[in-house]
Amino acid sequence: MSSRLRLTAQTIQVLDAFLEDPEEWRYGYDISRNTGLKSGTLYPILMRLAEYRLLEATWEATEAGKPPRHIYRLTPDGLRSAREHIRSYSIRHAWQAALEGVRS
């Protein structure tokens, strides 16, 4: 399933943010601040990751009277997939940079 995931630079950014501390649950706004992605870009990525079961989402109970907050974390599959994707993305990126260096 994860092979069908569209790997944009923004998706890599999000996966990278999750990999900083894989065990930690994160809020949408915090991911947005860390990656610099706007909500219109970030949430479609989160939805896609959740759809492919690479991301688990749950509601965090808050103080009484206040509605719960949605939190996210990579699933074990997501963690494995994220590491693979980031590794292959870095290799591809390094190759492209080297090729451009040779051309110039």
Binding site: S39, G40, Y43, P44, M47, P68, R69
Partner: protein, 172 residues
């Protein structure tokens, strides 16, 4: 709460009301984050971005559902067509076997000097026993691999047996 923030919240709430299922869940997640965004304008832009994301997601999932439905309909039609073709093929095969037997019988009557009693036996053997045996063998062989063709053969066999029963009942 400032006017801008209220507007942001309202925009998102209106959009969420139009959604169903997962869209609504994600919408509520985005709406909840509004309370933690520093700055009213940032909150408003967050709401606009979220609205765009929710609309895009809603359109995509609707298109996907529509695509799935069309695929299912096409698949169903193809399945029915395949089954019908199989049954027709079975009937044709069974008909061909019967025609072959009738042809052989006619050939035997014309060219061989068969006696009346032997001719009657050959008649029964060729038109009833041989085709029926072939039908049963064909049916068992094809039942697992090509069910629809086997069904066609069964149909032709049933017609032939019915015809034979009526024939023997009326002519003795």
């Amino acid at each position: 709460m400032s006017r801008t923030r209220r507007l942001a919240s309202r925009v998102l709430t209106i959009v969420i009301r139009q959604l169903s299922g997962k869209g609504q869940l994600w919408g509520n997640a985005m709406l909840r984050e509004l309370d933690f965004i520093e700055g009213d304008w940032a909150a408003l832009f967050w709401a606009f971005g979220s609205t765009a994301a929710l609309c895009r997601n809603s359109i995509t999932s609707r298109l996907r559902t529509l695509g799935d439905r069309r695929f299912n309909e096409t698949f169903q039609i193809k399945r029915i067509a395949k089954k019908t073709t199989g049954i027709v093929a079975g009937v044709i095969v069974a008909g061909s076997v019967l025609a072959l037997c009738v042809g052989i019988l006619i050939g035997l009557i014309r060219f061989a000097s068969l006696q009346q009693e032997n001719g009657r036996l050959a008649d029964r053997l060729l038109i009833v026993v041989i085709p029926e045996t072939l039908y049963v063998v064909g049916l068992i062989t094809l039942l697992r691999r090509r069910k629809s063709v086997a069904l066609g053969i069964l149909l032709a066999g049933v017609i032939l047996v019915t015809h034979a029963i009526i024939h023997f009942a009326t002519h003795g």
